[in-house]
Symmetry: C2
Subunit: 338 residues, 2 copies
């Protein structure tokens, strides 16, 4: 098959690689209908994470089941499925507790930007659609593979509830999905911290009631002003830098919560500040499978539509262009078609 | 009046000081019926917190209202009251949110180990009893001033719930109250980490189902073993050291919660570990007033009895002996009588 590979920082190729095959009876092979580039793919692209030269890259996709292992019974060839980026058996103690991203049989999609992807624990991971969706629905469904459940997880971890005030730090695709999640979970006021006009527009479409363009101490002061000096009930940290975490903690009201889903890079948590304010902190890799049935229903019913986070669609063969566009912030999130 | 004062590390005296007076119309003066020594009083005693020589010390007490400011309407002279160590108006946005320890009019008892104590925000802070309690109830009621609500807060922050597994790190008075709280909140299994036989006995009386005497990596391994390798749903960190926090985080199951109430000293939070495990973290100074009505009812009905944490009672004039006993770990918690 052909798939997107990474050879060195900045060196993305679309080339012939061996087809993934069934290795375990619990595996499935999915023919990718749409894949995309994740903000976290930019870490190795920028040389900030280690690279195994020639490795396939991409962990988000939707597609049609091509083949299943001998013990798979929940899906079969021809089923249209959402592939959660982290695979889980959905039966182990961690999964049953709702921590599917800590499954004892955790796996991860390796070639979501290629023509075929192997899914470990197909029965526990894949969620199939009633039938083949219309192509117009692909983008919204693809968002369920990672970015939408990750934004949702931030909102859940922050404790967003009906009528409360939420702040979203970060206007990447995850942050924007966090705005959509906060809105769907009933937040009465949603303050999106964003400097980019195109992203501010999407945030507003997704339910943001206020935009704060300032950053750092100015941004904190502005949010405090908007909340009568109190701070927000729930704050979604969707970046992963120390600056973003500092902002998140400082705009949270005493006793409120921060949900963080940006992979932490250089973050130092101020334990004394957390103690003094009783601000709660919870986050991590999203247990996608936990949220998928609910989110799929919301997308299929039209209750939520995360598709606007994809503002550039390219043929998979041009994935290198997609990486460049995201790296240079010309695109929020790039959808790739095989 | 006579009150306990601190002059230097290790230098505790009981001496004549000026009577506290009504300074604000919202103040009240309480004649102390029983006070006690807090684990946190040992920080200045050991020279680890700054000291203002001659300052009164002690923030936990119960007593009888002696005098009230002109705007106080909820209590009057003669009322028997619980004095929460942190005073609050119970009406500001933080109080209404349940974060009374971040009240915009926050105050703190300054002479709880003396004959009289001033309470700021008397209406918001003090909780009065239906009548004068029997002397046999004093110890249990005194525990409501700080130590019991603090253990309760750890359990609430950790997310203790019916049927779940809780671990309590720390066998000081707060940790023991944490065991009692976890039990009252319905935990099905309570693992108390304690090396001291007398404290283990109280933990068991309070509802601990298992005792782990090992510490550090051995202690973590033992808790993992007891929980089938999964870890606990809710972990109460009741010490405040880095070792205790490390233990707490490592014995929590993925997606579980740590509630921390030990004032952090040298704690570094492992943000990557928290991210990888989705372990939530929440804690701080307990919003005592929030829990008081419920806890008072539980004590008066006999549903909980935290009094065993007081294992030494002294006349207030011998408070210096009380500090020595706690410093040398000869006593868990010392009750002082005027």
């Amino acid at each position: 098959m052909r798939a997107t590979t990474i050879h060195a920082p900045g060196d993305i190729r679309f080339e012939e690689v061996p087809d993934p095959t069934i290795k375990q009876p619990t595996d499935a092979i999915v023919r990718v209908v749409a894949g995309c580039i994740c903000g976290s793919d930019l870490w190795p692209y920028r040389g900030e994470n280690p690279i195994r030269p020639g490795a396939t890259i991409g962990h988000e996709c939707i597609g049609v089941v091509e083949e299943v292992g001998s013990s798979v019974s929940g899906v079969r060839a021809g089923d249209f499925v959402i592939v959660p980026f982290c695979h889980c058996d959905n039966t182990c103690p961690h999964c049953r507790y709702g921590a599917q991203s800590a499954c004892v049989n955790l796996g991860m999609t390796q070639s979501g930007q290629g023509e075929l992807a192997r899914v470990n624990q197909a029965d526990g991971s894949l969620v199939k659609l009633p039938g083949a969706p219309d192509a117009s629905q692909h983008a919204a469904l693809l968002a369920l593979s990672d970015v939408m459940p990750t934004g949702w997880h931030a909102a859940v971890c922050a404790g967003v509830g009906p009528g409360g005030t939420a702040v979203v730090v970060g206007d990447g695709a995850v942050g924007l999905c966090g705005v959509l999640a906060a809105s769907a979970l009933g937040a009465g006021r949603i303050i999106a911290m964003s400097r980019h006009e195109s992203r501010q527009r999407i945030a507003t479409t997704f339910g943001a009631t206020d935009i704060v363009a300032e950053r750092g101490e100015e941004g904190i002061a502005r949010v405090k002003e908007l909340t009568d000096g109190v701070g927000a009930d729930a704050v979604l940290e969707c970046v992963g830098t120390d600056d973003a975490m500092t902002t998140a903690i400082h705009v949270t009201r005493p006793g409120g919560g921060v949900g963080f889903v940006g992979v932490p890079h250089g973050v130092e948590l101020p334990v004394r500040k957390l103690f003094e304010t009783n601000v709660g902190l919870r986050g991590g890799m999203a247990p996608v499978r936990r949220y998928l049935p609910d989110l799929l229903e919301r997308v299929l019913s039209g209750a939520i539509d995360p598709s606007p986070v994809f503002d550039l669609t390219l043929p998979m063969a041009e994935s290198a262009d997609g990486y460049r566009a995201m790296d240079e912030r010309r695109a929020i999130k790039v959808l790739l078609q095989p």
